[in-house]
């Protein structure tokens, strides 16, 4: 019986992907007309769930006439797909640490920044690493370190702007711990609270090794247990010690569960199974939209930050390639930025989003000022009432206190092994 239902599902999905493949192939061979609206250009975008919204695909169809097929996967699966199935996607919507991992494989092509209309408006974080001329660069895989390559066929990363980008940056944010203030009832101000025995059986951490290890490092450093040389590039001893501390906590029953996908984190928090956990911004808005209090708690040690962008598959050429550039230019031109900023992210060309947001939305999300009216999420559901202030304050307050970026380490394979043992222990 089980085998039966399984084979049905796989047959159906096989059929589906088969249909998708044929439409894509048809578009590739038959898409002759010059105007996108009259062609059947189909681009397949694979990425993490953070920005795979049907609303964006629908708007792209409306504005550009390009059909976007969005596939949302968890971080590991996206890396796997980009690394091992180069023909299975046209646009990769991935994070910069993933870029560091997959770029050397050669399944993505460098992008000519002279074709990017809003290139000048992209914030400094992605170009020279500096948010403002005076800011210091945080630890980890800072996006600008893997943003540029030497020329169109460059394999190694360049430390300065070359005119050829690995990915065009789209969104980024500063992550911290999410808490349920109604169930904790006291101020939380340090990462160390994640392992506080007070929250035994009510804490959670994400089971994505490359991000989870950074959250762990923030906690261990805040506890004063480990002083890291560079949290984004740990030594074997540092990895052992970090994982050791968390394995002990796990055995003592500190964690209720680990989560891997975005909705799992929402459910854990909304149901009250967990009161403190590593969390992502849209998960916070999702919990709040249910009328449940949830705070994206700024912590004194600073944020763990991440940035994402769009990369173009190496196999794209001709019309599809032009359409991909068109899509990416459109992505930076403001509407998507406004949409994603209502989700709690920031747009790479942040000023272009301003005209697609109301003055109140802009001052709430970007400037960190009190809302004058209701704040709604991207789907139009009311999230905050007048007077609410964004957790962590303004763009410059939040992005200015980044302690480290999501990273891939030199000892990555060792870390992954250790992480596996932590999960299995």
């Amino acid at each position: 019986m089980k085998a039966n239902s399984k084979s049905k599902i796989s047959r159906r999905s096989l059929l589906k992907s088969g249909v998708a493949a044929t439409t894509a192939a048809a578009a590739g061979t038959l898409g002759a007309p010059m105007i996108w609206a009259q062609s059947n250009i189909v681009l397949r975008q694979s990425g993490t769930g953070v920005s795979a919204f049907n609303e964006i695909a629908a708007k792209a169809k409306e504005d550009l006439g390009i059909t976007m097929e969005m596939t949302a996967l968890d971080s590991d699966s996206v890396v796997q797909k980009v690394a091992t199935q180069p023909k299975s996607f046209d646009i990769a919507d991935i994070e910069y640490w993933m870029c560091k991992k997959v770029w050397p494989i050669g399944n993505l092509q460098a992008m000519d920044t002279s074709k990017i209309a809003n290139y000048d408006k992209i914030v400094g974080i992605f170009k020279n690493g500096k948010l403002t001329p005076t800011s210091t660069i945080a630890q980890g895989t800072a996006p600008h370190t893997v943003s540029f390559v030497e020329g169109a066929n460059g394999k190694s990363f360049s430390s300065e702007e070359t005119g050829w980008m690995t990915m065009i940056p789209t969104i980024y944010n500063a992550d911290t711990l999410g808490i349920r203030p109604d169930l904790i009832n006291r101020p939380i101000n340090t990462w160390a609270e994640l392992l506080n025995p007070e929250f035994k059986g009510k804490a959670s951490i994400l089971d994505i090794s490359s991000i989870g290890i950074m959250d762990m490092a923030m906690v261990c450093e805040a506890m004063g247990e480990i002083q890291y040389g560079d949290k984004g590039n740990m030594t074997k001893e540092e990895i052992d010690k970090t994982i050791g501390i968390f394995t002990e906590a796990k055995k003592a029953g500190q964690f209720r569960a680990f989560w891997k996908s975005f909705d799992e984190s929402v459910n854990l928090m909304a149901s009250g199974e967990v009161v403190i956990q590593s969390m992502w911004s849209p998960a916070i808005t999702a919990v709040r939209s249910k009328g449940i209090p949830c705070v994206y708690q700024p912590l004194k040690e600073g944020y763990r930050s991440w940035g994402g962008g769009l990369g173009i598959a190496a196999h794209l050429s001709g019309k599809e390639l032009d359409a991909a550039y068109e899509y990416i230019n459109w992505y930076l031109s403001g509407w998507v930025g406004g949409f994603l900023m209502r989700q709690g992210y920031y747009s790479a060309a942040v000023e272009t989003s301003k005209e697609y947001m109301s003055a109140d939305e802009w001052s709430y999300w970007f400037e960190g000022k009190a809302a004058k009216g209701d704040i709604v999420n991207p789907q139009g559901v009311k999230m905050e009432s007048a007077g609410a202030v964004r957790d962590g304050g303004s763009f410059y307050d939040r992005m200015g206190s980044v302690a480290c970026w999501n990273a891939v380490m030199d000892e990555n394979q060792y870390m992954v092994r250790k992480w596996n043992e932590f999960i299995a222990s």
Binding site: S5, I9, D74, A83, G272, E273, V416, I423, S425
Partner: protein
């Protein structure tokens, strides 16, 4: 000549099965075994003949702990589903007298299987949660003051989901063998003065052995190979062999995943062949 022709026709008749089996079982297993000796870097795998994967697997104490955890779940779930499944089948076969009602009751057992097994499993999560229905009822009835934590994301919830998902695989074959028992055998035993317990132990159970064994093979193989139930119902707090494999695959470590799969496969095959020692299924069917 006639004998030869007969041979050829029987080979031809068997060939579809041979083709299907070799394409979908034998070739994949050979591939998995071959890849388990390959080497891997972070993103790529390359052909080689290395024992690294096995060495890492067999020298890590995490592997052994996970392995015994897998066996532990298999034995526990097998024992519970056996008792439950046998009882249900016994009731259906000997206490429900009309065939129509037997069919109706049997269909009732299968109704939950009309939905996907993942949905059946996940629906336990809100029920068992800290603020779920089970805890609310317990608190309202005054049985406990604080929510019971071990109901969800624990060994208990994993076992519960397994039992829920797989008991039917025990019920069906046992029920099937029970229906074939000649009722006159039971009458004869009763006439000879046997008590109900004696009839159960000396007549029914021995005659049900093939059904019990088939059900056991289903349950043991399913539990040993599972990874998604353990992941969801334990909130990723418990690992079994399947999760080791899925973790490896998600991190592109295919050779190491293959090595784990080969070890798991060998264990399951050994367990099943031991089980088959007790009953000659072919003869009994």
């Amino acid at each position: 000549m006639a004998v030869l022709q007969k041979n050829i026709s029987s080979i031809l008749l068997a060939s579809p099965v041979i083709l299907v089996l070799s394409a979908f079982i034998i070739v994949p297993i050979i591939l998995i075994t071959a890849v388990s000796f390959w080497g891997s870097t972070e993103f790529s795998i390359y052909p080689a003949f290395l024992f690294d994967n096995y060495e890492f697997l067999l020298t890590s104490d995490v592997t052994y702990r996970v392995f015994f955890r897998t066996l532990y779940f298999a034995v526990l779930v097998w024992a519970i589903t056996l008792v439950l499944g046998f009882t249900v089948a016994y009731y259906l076969a000997f206490f429900v007298h009309s065939l129509t009602w037997q069919i109706i009751c049997f269909l009732l057992c299968t109704i939950p299987f009309w939905t996907s097994n993942i949905i059946r499993m996940i629906s336990w999560i809100p029920f068992l949660g800290r603020n779920g229905l089970a805890n609310q009822s317990l608190i309202e009835m005054g049985i406990v003051d604080e929510p019971v934590e071990w109901l969800l994301y624990s060994e208990f919830s994993v076992c519960l989901a397994f039992v829920h998902l797989y008991t039917l695989f025990m019920v069906v074959p046992i029920f099937n063998t029970m229906m074939r028992i000649d009722k006159s055998l039971i009458e004869a035993a009763r006439d000879a003065g046997a008590s109900s317990t004696q009839i159960l132990v000396n007549v029914i159970i021995p005659l049900c052995k093939p059904g019990i064994m088939i059900g056991s093979i289903f349950v043991v193989a399913l539990v040993m190979g599972d990874f998604i139930t353990v992941r969801f119902m334990s909130g990723s707090q418990i690992a079994n062999m399947g999760r080791l494999i899925s973790n490896d695959i998600s991190l592109l470590q295919y050779p190491s995943a293959c090595a784990t799969a080969v070890v798991l496969l060998a264990t399951v095959v050994i367990m099943i062949s031991i089980m088959l020692r007790f009953v000659d299924i072919r003869k009994e069917l």
